[in-house]
């Protein structure tokens, strides 16, 4: 083991120790109420919550993956950054304040205020857990391959143990510390990630004496593609299937964020809708600057390290930023290079841990607050909901570890795109309809959820990701009937269509008074918890 790997492990152990410290400190004072476990007591400040949202959202996939895509394909990687950021306008304009005013802990709370409670809770709970598990598996797979890349241990055992270790840690954070511990871990991670990114960006710009033009030209020259590197088309410019696939992904990115359960649950950690709005303003500032810096890092990696060297280290480009750090610090073997490389590796680990903790918490809330509360036998012994949520976190951890081990070879960026597509198809239509459509009914709500969820999952099963392609999950068989990898362009309209269809075909007349309550509450905050 070389010096940089030892240092990276030391730094990472330090982060784990700090986060476990936070968890014990928080759980020592816990009162065990649902308010405390799911929402951290609702007393975080907008700035704290803004950092936590940013920490929840900026995953290792964006830190390493997008910078790597830019280093390999130039402009096409930049399209990801734009989608991930513009999505926040949907959240800010249509979702954050209204959801904060109407709900208590989960997406289903907003729907259940208007609709027949049991069916919509089960539907929304199911889709929330599905989205969370998909996203969780993506992060676990990412963690496994990260260790292989950064520590040079390519053996399957090292990857498997990483997945298990990450899973165990996230279960400890969530089940012992609840939302309060999760939030502080995300804040610490956001500060570390932004700090690391700022340092690297400044070093890249210093290397080119602040001349962005020269940075871009050098990147284009060293990429081997010339000026085509600075224009779209290198990755998604192939046949029309690839182009439509990218448009589909773009739609999923921009509409999916507002349906991600772990993002929605963050709005309940602040006292008012106004504080939720200010949290989002903070997070847009942080996330936007982060992605701008990611673009500099991506082109910087192409210019400093060279596209060929990046591809040689990892075909997907995931090592672009660590290699860039090594070079900026003075090259392999130098003290500066060793330290920077170790810092980047440790920050990437920290990023994954914080993100998985947030998702685990949100999905355990969906299991306990929505599914368990609706499905348990009426006369059975009513356990405390928080106790159920703690055990649900353990269960979800086990499922995520198992799926993470199974899906070890799947592309991480694809899994993230899929989670966004399912969130946009199943969660966003029902949320927007119930906030803004007077005539929306229970059947419409249930149809909107399943009408988006089932096509999204089904189309993926029939896509080249699963079968009929040398790179797919089961290359030997061929049941591929849908040409696109990302189902968004079909399944998102289907979700909206199903909600409309369910509403116009149902005999039920929407309850005017309940809609009035939703509308008044969502815009004024009357009766909000």
């Amino acid at each position: 083991m070389t010096g940089d790997q030892t240092l990276a492990l030391l730094l990472f152990t330090g982060f784990v120790a700090v986060t476990l410290g936070i968890t014990t400190w928080v759980s020592r004072r816990r009162r065990g109420s649902a308010e405390e476990f799911y929402a951290g007591g609702r007393l975080f400040s907008p700035m704290e919550n803004g950092f936590a949202i940013a920490g929840d959202y900026m995953s290792a996939a964006s830190f390493l993956g997008i910078a790597g895509l830019i280093a390999l394909y130039g402009y096409d990687g930049l399209l990801y950054c734009v989608g991930f950021l513009v999505a926040w306008l949907v959240v800010l304009f249509l979702v954050a304040e209204l959801v904060r005013n109407c709900g208590r802990f989960t997406l289903a709370d907003v729907l259940a205020a208007r609709m027949s409670e049991r069916p919509v809770r089960i539907a929304a709970g199911t889709s929330s857990v599905t989205v969370s598990v998909l996203y969780l598996v993506a992060q676990m797979v990412g963690a496994g391959s990260l260790v292989a890349l950064l520590l040079g241990r390519t053996s399957g055992a090292a990857q498997a143990w990483t997945v298990i270790g990450v899973g165990a840690l996230m279960v400890i954070y969530v089940s012992l510390g609840g939302m309060r511990a999760t939030t502080w871990i995300q804040i610490v991670k956001a500060v570390l990630l932004l700090g690391g990114t700022v340092v690297l960006t400044v070093l890249v710009l210093l290397r080119f004496h602040g001349d962005v033009d020269r940075l871009l030209l050098t990147a284009a020259e060293r990429s081997g593609h010339g000026t085509a590197f600075l224009a779209p088309g290198l990755k998604y410019g192939g046949d029309w299937t690839a182009r439509v696939d990218f448009i589909s992904l773009g739609l999923a990115l921009v509409l999916g964020t507002a349906g991600l359960p772990h993002i929605l649950s963050r709005f309940y950690t602040v006292p008012t809708a106004r504080a939720a709005r200010r949290s989002v303003v903070w997070s847009i500032g942080l996330i936007g600057s982060f992605y701008l810096m990611t673009i500099v890092l991506g082109f910087g990696a192409a210019a400093v390290v060279g596209t060929g060297a990046v591809r040689g280290s990892n075909a997907a480009g995931n090592t672009a930023v660590p290699l860039l750090a090594l070079d900026l610090g003075g090259g392999a073997g130098s003290t500066g290079g060793t330290v920077l490389f170790a810092v980047v590796a440790a920050v990437a680990f920290a990023t994954i841990l914080a993100v998985v903790a947030g998702i685990t918490l949100a999905s355990s809330a969906s299991v306990a607050h929505d599914l368990y509360a609706s499905l348990r036998r009426r006369h059975g012994e009513a356990r405390s909901e928080v106790a159920v949520a703690r055990w649900a976190a353990v269960g979800i951890g086990v499922v995520a570890i198992a799926l993470g081990l199974l899906a070890r070879d799947l592309n991480v960026a694809f899994l993230v795109g899929l989670a966004f597509a399912v969130a946009a198809s199943a969660n966003l239509p029902v949320l927007l309809y119930s906030l803004f459509w007077r005539g929306f009914t229970t059947r419409g709500a249930v149809w909107a959820v399943y009408g988006g969820l089932l096509p999204a999952i089904g189309l993926v099963l029939l896509s080249p990701v699963v079968s009929g392609d040398p790179d797919s999950l089961f290359p030997a068989v061929d049941f591929q009937y849908f040409p696109l990898e990302n189902p968004g362009i079909v399944s998102i309209p289907l979700g909206f269509l199903a909600g409309w269809l369910g509403t116009v075909t149902s005999d039920e007349v929407a309850d005017e008074a309940k809609y009035a309550e939703t509308e008044v509450r969502s815009l004024t905050g009357a009766g909000a918890v």
Binding site: V82, L217, G288, A368, A513, R521, T524
Partner: protein
């Protein structure tokens, strides 16, 4: 609001009508609430440019002394029909609907152009910067600008009226519950 009510049993739904436990005993809304909406001005960058003037006040939602007798269920319908609420909702929608349509069209147009017309995006503008770079950075810029504009609009045009409506509605609901008992 943020008051914790101790452990709750499973399945405790959210729809307690206007359920608020705090300040049950205060008969008038002239008392000073511990109101997080009135905390110090925001620290977000969207809030730094406080040059505008607050929107003109909207009329109160309370219909009169007889209104409190309405059932708790009807309180929200009554508030929804009040001129004050219609005004707040109108201000919200007049900003959000064009804004959302605008940025979605701009974003989808950008993605479709980038995938279908890479030649146009490659056209040079200045030095190494081409149309695609300008458009991509333009997306960042419009996102920041719209965020700032929304936060400012909400703060100056909606917050005050929404807060007044909130207390009025909660008081009406409390009165309705009291009348029913």
């Amino acid at each position: 609001m943020q008051s914790s009510n101790g452990p709750r049993g499973a399945g405790d739904g959210p729809e307690r009508p206007a359920g608020n436990q705090e300040d049950r005993g205060t008969p008038s809304r002239d008392v000073t609430f511990e109101d997080p909406w009135h905390d110090a001005p925001a620290s977000g960058w969207g809030e730094l440019h406080d040059t505008g003037t607050p929107a003109p006040a909207v009329p109160p939602a309370r219909g009169g002394p007889g209104a409190a007798a309405a059932g708790a269920r009807d309180v929200y319908v009554e508030v929804q029909r009040s001129a004050a609420f219609q005004e707040v909702r109108g201000r919200y929608r007049r900003f959000v609907v064009p804004g959302t349509v605008g940025f979605l069209v701009w974003y989808v147009g950008y993605v479709v152009t980038a995938t279908t017309a890479p030649g146009f995006m490659a056209r040079p503008v200045a030095g190494a910067v081409n149309v695609g770079m300008v458009a991509g950075l333009g997306q960042f810029l419009t996102t920041f600008l719209l965020t700032w504009a929304y936060a400012r609009h909400a703060r100056l045009r909606r917050d005050r009226a929404a807060l007044e409506l909130r207390w009025d509605t909660q008081e009406l609901a409390r009165g309705a519950r009291g009348g029913a008992q």
